[in-house]
């Protein structure tokens, strides 16, 4: 690996920290809200790191900056020790990148796409076959089909194959599971786990909160700001309040009633349940909630103390972060 004096200014050792981003900011147009503001994160070697946030949070912008496609307004970043601005050429031959949109040639067949991308990276499908075999076996029956005629899940698999074809040490996957059905999504995550075991460092972004637990560490992002970076269990473990799941026969009336109760700090629907936190109170919270619900004539009321999910944490962080704006609190 190329040694460079600038390393000294960056604390982590690039040898086992292939992705280092420090204070990255980026605006597309003056006057509009920045796409990224002061984003810093590191990904360790062999880590499966998830960037989790909704559309427009800045995920793609960060990916493009880290893959040398875009210049940040400020801040610096290194991939495998190479600077994303100066050493873009070295980075381009070491990383694998799967953009958010399906970006393969729809008018070429599966086989032709693979051959092309292999050649582009100066290698051949046969030499790299071991790495992609698991994934390729699944699309092999369709190898003479045009990529445009594949299903969503198959397209993602082909795109992953193409991104892996040159055996990259770092893999960037921008929303690989968006718009793909549950079954294909699961298969895709299983593939990522396998790749991780082969020592590939993976940065993956997703809008689906439930996929967070499949990552080693995650960063929650909204409106261009990181809300938190940690392991999924650490993030849910540090949820600052007791969380209760409540349900009753009429869930929407219950939601409205709980929201109008001054004891309630937050109340959000989670499937058939409502997740509720209370303000400062005395006595057993579960009993309090049950009493209130009974007073409002609710039937079949159940209240449980539960462990928060990533989505609970995300909502909590997004709504309590003083820097977060633009999330309308209506209605």
């Amino acid at each position: 690996m190329k040694k460079n004096n600038l390393y000294t200014s960056l604390s982590p050792d690039p040898g086992d920290t292939p992705i280092i981003a420090e204070h990255i900011s980026k605006s597309y147009n003056k006057g509009t809200a920045p796409a990224l503001s002061n984003v810093s994160l590191t990904v360790k070697k062999g880590e499966l790191f998830g960037l989790i946030g909704p559309d427009g949070a800045g995920k793609t912008t960060l990916f493009r900056i880290l893959t040398t496609l875009l210049l940040a307004d400020s801040g610096q970043a290194r991939i495998s020790g190479y600077d994303v601005v100066k050493d873009f050429k070295q980075i381009r031959s070491t990383v694998g990148y799967m953009p958010g949109k399906f970006s393969l040639y729809q008018d070429l067949t599966v086989q032709e796409n693979l051959t092309f991308f292999a050649a582009l990276f100066g290698t051949e499908v046969a030499t790299q076959y071991e790495l992609i075999r698991d994934i390729y076996d699944q699309i092999e029956p369709f190898k003479n089909r045009r990529a445009g005629k594949l299903s969503g899940g198959m397209k993602q698999k082909l795109a992953l194959c193409c991104a892996l074809i040159h055996k990259p040490s770092v893999l960037f996957l921008d929303e690989p599971t968006t718009g793909v059905d549950v079954v294909s999504r699961r298969e895709f995550w299983e593939m990522l786990q396998k790749l991780k075991r082969q020592g590939i460092t993976i940065l993956v972004s997703t809008p689906y909160m439930e996929e967070a637990v499949l990552c080693d560490r995650i960063a929650l992002i909204q409106n261009g700001q990181l809300l938190n970076i940690d392991t999924p269990s650490q993030i849910t473990g540090t949820f600052p309040a007791a969380l209760y799941a409540v349900k009753a026969a009429s869930i929407y009336t219950l939601l409205k009633d709980l929201r109008s109760w001054n004891q309630v700090e937050s109340c959000y629907a989670f499937g058939e349940w409502l997740h509720v936190t209370l303000r400062q109170h005395t006595g057993d919270a579960r009993a309090l909630i049950r009493e209130y619900a009974a007073a409002k004539a609710h039937q079949q009321v159940t209240v449980q103390l539960i462990a928060p999910t990533i989505e609970d944490s995300f909502i909590r962080l997004a709504t309590t972060n003083p820097l977060q704006h633009g999330t309308p609190n209506q209605p």
Binding site: R64, T67, T68, L69, L70, L71, F88, K89, R92, S93, V95, Y97, P99, G100, K101, F102, S103, L104, Y105, Q106, D107, L108, E112, T115, F116, F117, A119, L120, F121, G122, C162, A163
Partner: protein
């Protein structure tokens, strides 16, 4: 090098799998050549012709009778003033006018020499030429018949004038024009669209995040269209020479070199457009409006440049196709050599260098 070859192969896949591209590549030259070659030089029949025989001259009447006997002309005899004649032309009522001077017979008998005036509508040069040709034949016949009779041998001198297009651009001039047009479409429009499509589908991102040198993307995009346009050039040339009997007077090698030069100019133009735009529609629109229209208007193969206002003539100098058209005409039709086309060739050279410089300077190795 292998990367580049694989890339170029991929470009050919794109071309041969896209019906629209194929149609433009192979349908368009055929249609244009046939359109210009046949539809626009179709046989002349029932041409409206007015005969002005103010003095009721006898021999003039005999000549008129011959014209009437021919299926080619719809002859009307009228007394019209020069202004009225012009109005008839403008309204499109007539395509030709024959004007006999008052002493036509007299001159013929006394000095064995007389003239009359033939006016034709030069905005349709093909028709004009045909009319003139037929008229001369008829006059020739007329003369021969009468020379055997009582009269002494005489000469009739038709004074020919084409209105609106004095020089009389002929039918064979369209071949260089079509060449310019087709090469421009293939090299500029198709190349720019091919590059921009990669931006639109997002594959450009992957190409950029690969060790493949970004500038080579442009090379890889240009090469297939260079080869395809050379194929097009050959097809058009063969069609022109063997189907339409257009002469190939000058050096084929020189013609080839000039064409290669023009292809280079057009490709640079296409790459510059693809550089500045990010949607296929915009790229196509710029290619069409910005290049095709000027090519049609300012090269001179449809509208004679000499008749345009001066500012337009200056603008025409900026259109690469004008120089190509002029050079091809010189070499192909007039059989002239390098000494006569070096000016056109240097202009094309300069344009190519300029365009390529801008393109390379502007070229982005990142997204914007």
């Amino acid at each position: 090098m292998k990367q580049l070859l694989v890339f170029i192969r991929k470009e050919f896949y794109h071309v041969f799998r896209d019906r629209r591209t194929l149609l433009i590549l192979f349908g368009l030259p055929l249609v244009q050549i046939l359109l210009f070659g046949y539809a626009l030089t179709s046989e002349v029949k029932n041409v409206d012709l007015v005969v002005i025989n103010t003095s009721g001259d006898l021999l003039a009447q005999q000549l008129t009778a011959r014209l009437q006997a021919s299926a080619l002309f719809n002859v009307q005899e009228k007394q019209l003033s020069p202004t009225e004649i012009e109005n008839e032309f403008k309204k499109g009522h007539i395509k030709a006018a024959l004007i006999f001077p008052s002493g036509f017979s007299n001159d013929l008998i006394k000095i064995q020499r007389a003239g009359f005036q033939v006016l034709t509508d030069g905005s349709e040069p093909n028709i004009s030429k045909t009319i003139t040709r037929y008229l001369s034949t008829i006059v020739q016949d007329f003369r021969q018949e009468h020379s055997t009779a009582a009269l002494a041998p005489f000469t009739i001198v038709p004074e020919l004038r084409m209105l609106y297009n004095e020089e009389g651009n002929g039918s064979i001039n369209f071949v260089p024009g079509v060449l310019a047009l087709i090469l421009m479409i293939v090299c500029t429009a198709l190349t720019s669209v091919a590059v921009v499509r990669e931006k639109e589908t997002g594959t450009m991102e992957i190409l950029l995040v690969s060790p493949f040198r970004p500038a080579m993307v442009l090379v890889a995009k240009a090469v297939p269209f260079l080869l395809l346009s050379l194929a097009n050039f050959s097809v058009i040339l063969l069609l022109a020479v063997y189907v339409l009997n257009v002469p190939l007077a000058g050096s084929l090698l020189l013609l080839f070199v000039i064409t290669l030069l023009f292809i280079a100019t057009s490709l640079s133009f296409g790459l510059l457009i693809s550089n500045a735009t990010s949607s296929q529609q915009v790229a196509l629109l710029i290619s069409m409006m910005g290049l095709m229209l000027p090519t049609i208007i300012f090269t001179g193969f449809i509208f004679p440049l000499e008749n345009m206002p001066l500012p337009f003539q200056w603008i025409s100098n900026l259109v690469p196709a004008k120089w190509y058209y002029s050079a091809v005409k010189s070499v192909m039709l007039k059989g002239l050599g390098l000494a006569y086309v070096w000016k056109e060739m240097s202009v094309l050279c300069l344009m190519t260098i300029l365009l390529l410089t801008i393109t390379v300077k502007r070229f982005q190795i990142r997204l914007t």
